[in-house]
């Protein structure tokens, strides 16, 4: 079953790449967060595919469900921060966030 596992991992890697590309090139704050969500999909796919091909689907489901709960909490926090940023700058452009110089 190892080869099927590799197939799924290959697809998860594509999703990971798409998410990272989004984080590196986009400017809209919400769009950046969609990038994080795409990475999250790669992770859930990886967990379930691992469980399905390695015959441990029950544990994998437990992990995936937990991961989804964590994801929701991160999304809620991030969107709350984005709304607060919008109240200050009236814009969602990452280029307006330049007060601090990394």
């Amino acid at each position: 079953m190892s080869n099927v596992w590799l197939l799924y991992m290959g697809f998860a890697a594509v999703l990971l790449f798409a998410g990272l590309y989004c984080l590196l090139t986009m400017r809209n704050l919400i769009k950046l967060f969609i990038g994080v969500e795409v990475i999250g999909k790669a992770v859930t796919l990886g967990i379930i595919a691992t469980g399905a091909t390695k015959n441990s689907i029950l544990t994998a489901q437990a992990l995936a469900v937990t991961f989804i709960v964590v994801e929701v909490c991160v999304v809620a926090t991030a969107l709350a921060i984005i709304i607060n940023v919008y109240r200050h700058t009236k814009s969602l452009d990452i280029r307006k966030l330049t007060q601090l110089k990394g």
């Binding site: 190892s2 080869n3 596992w5 590799l6 991992m9 290959g10 697809f11 594509v14 999703l15 798409a18 590309y21 989004c22 090139t25 986009m26 400017r27 809209n28 919400i30 769009k31 969609i34 969500e37 795409v38 999250g40 999909k41 859930t44 796919l45 379930i48 469980g51 399905a52 390695k54 015959n55 441990s56 689907i57 029950l58 544990t59 994998a60 489901q61 437990a62 992990l63 995936a64 469900v65 937990t66 989804i68 709960v69 964590v70 994801e71 929701v72 909490c73 999304v75 809620a76 926090t77 969107l79 921060i81 984005i82 709304i83 607060n84 919008y86 009236k90 814009s91 969602l92 452009d93």
Partner: protein, 161 residues
């Protein structure tokens, strides 16, 4: 059997790419929801009904609602102009990455040895509640953290400010 799953995986990738590349943020959020839906169906095919149900109801449902609410609350004047270059050079990078990904995975076929997992007994509920009990406590912590974070970020400003 496998063909359907590969079809679902390809659809997942296509809609994720749409979510990344679409200019209109609302359409991007909806593409993301469709991608989650396909992922959820894939989970059902992979014999993971609980994860599939969670993926569809929570990620495709709840998170999309949160995104749409945020988009509605932040209707920016004029919107944000994404750089055109980012969308134009994407196919180039993407194809290069696909080739690398394909070559690496082909190289690895038959190379990765792994140990079989110990056999699982019982139902999903038993595994979750008995085997992964501590995850549930950590989940309580995560949910507390999320709730208090949102409460703190939307609190009324004090007189000081």
């Amino acid at each position: 059997m496998m063909a359907l799953q590969i079809g679902l995986l390809c659809g997942l990738v296509v809609f994720s790419l749409l979510a990344v590349l679409l200019r209109d943020i609302l359409k991007a959020a909806i593409s993301l929801a469709v991608a989650s839906l396909l992922l959820g169906i894939l989970f059902f095919r992979l014999d993971a009904p609980y994860a599939g149900a969670f993926e569809i109801s929570v990620v495709a449902g709840l998170i999309t609602v949160l995104f749409v609410v945020t988009i509605a609350l932040t209707k920016a004047e004029g919107g944000v102009h994404e750089s055109r270059a980012a969308a134009w050079i994407f196919p180039l990078f993407f194809v290069v990455f696909l080739v690398i990904d394909f070559l690496v995975m082909r190289r690895l076929i038959g190379q990765v040895a792994s140990l079989p997992a110990p056999a699982e007994a019982g139902t999903f509920g038993q595994v979750l509640w008995k085997g992964r009990t501590f995850d549930l406590i950590a989940q309580v912590g995560v949910i507390f953290a999320g709730v208090f974070a949102v409460l703190a970020l939307f609190r009324k400003r004090s007189k000081h400010e």
